[in-house]
Symmetry: C2
Subunit: 292 residues, 2 copies
Amino acid sequence: MEIVETPEEARTVGEGTRGLVPTMGYLHEGHLSLFEEARRQCDVVVVSLFVNPLQFDEPADLERYPRDLDRDAELARDAGVDVLFAPPVEVMYPEDPLTTVRVRQVAETMEGEHRPGHFEGVATVVAKLFAALRPDRAFFGRKDHQQLIVIRRMHQDLSFPGEVVGCPTIREPDGLALSSRNVFIPDREAALSISRGLESAAEAVEAGERAAVALTEIVRRRLALDTVDYVTLASQHDARSLDRLDRPAFLAVAGRVGDVRLIDNLPIDLVGEMFVPDLGIRLDRPSLLYSR
Amino acid sequence: MEIVETPEEARTVGEGTRGLVPTMGYLHEGHLSLFEEARRQCDVVVVSLFVNPLQFDEPADLERYPRDLDRDAELARDAGVDVLFAPPVEVMYPEDPLTTVRVRQVAETMEGEHRPGHFEGVATVVAKLFAALRPDRAFFGRKDHQQLIVIRRMHQDLSFPGEVVGCPTIREPDGLALSSRNVFIPDREAALSISRGLESAAEAVEAGERAAVALTEIVRRRLALDTVDYVTLASQHDARSLDRLDRPAFLAVAGRVGDVRLIDNLPIDLVGEMFVPDLGIRLDRPSLLYSR
């Protein structure tokens, strides 16, 4: 594996189709599953590691975001990554950037409402990575489903070649969706109320429930968060909220336990004429987040 | 020369370094000079031809914008272009686009003030062309100097590889800057007052004048337009207006003759310690706009 700091190097190592997995580092099994999928689909696997200041709406959150390049490099190498692109801030932003990429509509609901500027930061830095690294495929977790939709739409609207691939959420053995922020959670039981709520909703979907108000209420009844930002059934196509489950959708939850903000969601795919909830993949042992 | 309708084809014809010249068609010697420069610097010359609805703030202007693919294809072929990328609207916008690329500051003065949304449309469609066609170099005329700055900044901020190259303005024998819109001008003498004003300013610069107010006044005294939108001395780096000519700059003019809006400018480069006005290149015979 090569560790490089410039896009030119990241773009030219290796030959064949290139798969990109953008990350902010502090890798866990969620990222590793994306590396594996990229490995399966592409000749060269490029992982970017950049804690993007633009997408943090809270300076304290940026400040404490965990960083450890040696640790991440070792995990990436073990996972068969070919190129780790870890640019210093000066390479990504030689001058104060004036350009922003904005996605209307799909970026304005849910996370867009609760984290002003967040998706603009995400869309802008991912557009930069697409422009600079020219991947044939880029891989994102379904855990951030609205983000996946924002990126997919940006990718299409700006005519980037290739494909944006969404991959299943990886969960800890108790069901908590993996996130680098999990190490800060002050009350595990409270945090687990999210995935438990989504599991109950998945059962209801399988039993035939289609009303958004019923599905969101099932989730809300189980939630034990300190604050709930939203519980919403939204379209997979444009992230607009739905009254009924009548197309591919996702049931999204966001809230806080102490000062840690958590999000999770249940994608509900349409397979033939069947609605199939995607609860993701559960690890069979504790995440490496707690040991490495 | 190949005429293609999809980015995939435009991206894969030919081998070696790729030069892109984005146009809205109805080609004239201004475009041809960009093709020549691309020919000199690159192995494969790609010309895009797309009248981008996003950048027209006036529907009437979009409506009457001249279009003639056969004519343009013949001119491009004669000029040694390798690929003419002429996408139908459905290829460029398969769905109503939600994504916009905005460049703050440099796109907010002058044209940005007078044509709301214009530069957002330009930056977005040029980002699309850069993303889709992956040029090593892209060529733009200095006639639209602020546009060149907006595009250069977008290109840098989004980490597109390669280079944005600015080329001299091509003028008709009487000095009028070439533009596809020239065929609609109702009063040639009035239109010529712009280039004459800029010529006078160029003489003043060469005689040592450095005050913005003096230089703009020299231009304004000669102008015989029906309306003047602005006469501004601005920085080549960030398009901000200057009080004094103390760095690379351009003296920009915009206004109307009848209902035809015209812009022109005098780039003033710093060569060593000398300020050198760039009046562009004058054709020695009438433009092909009037005969083909």
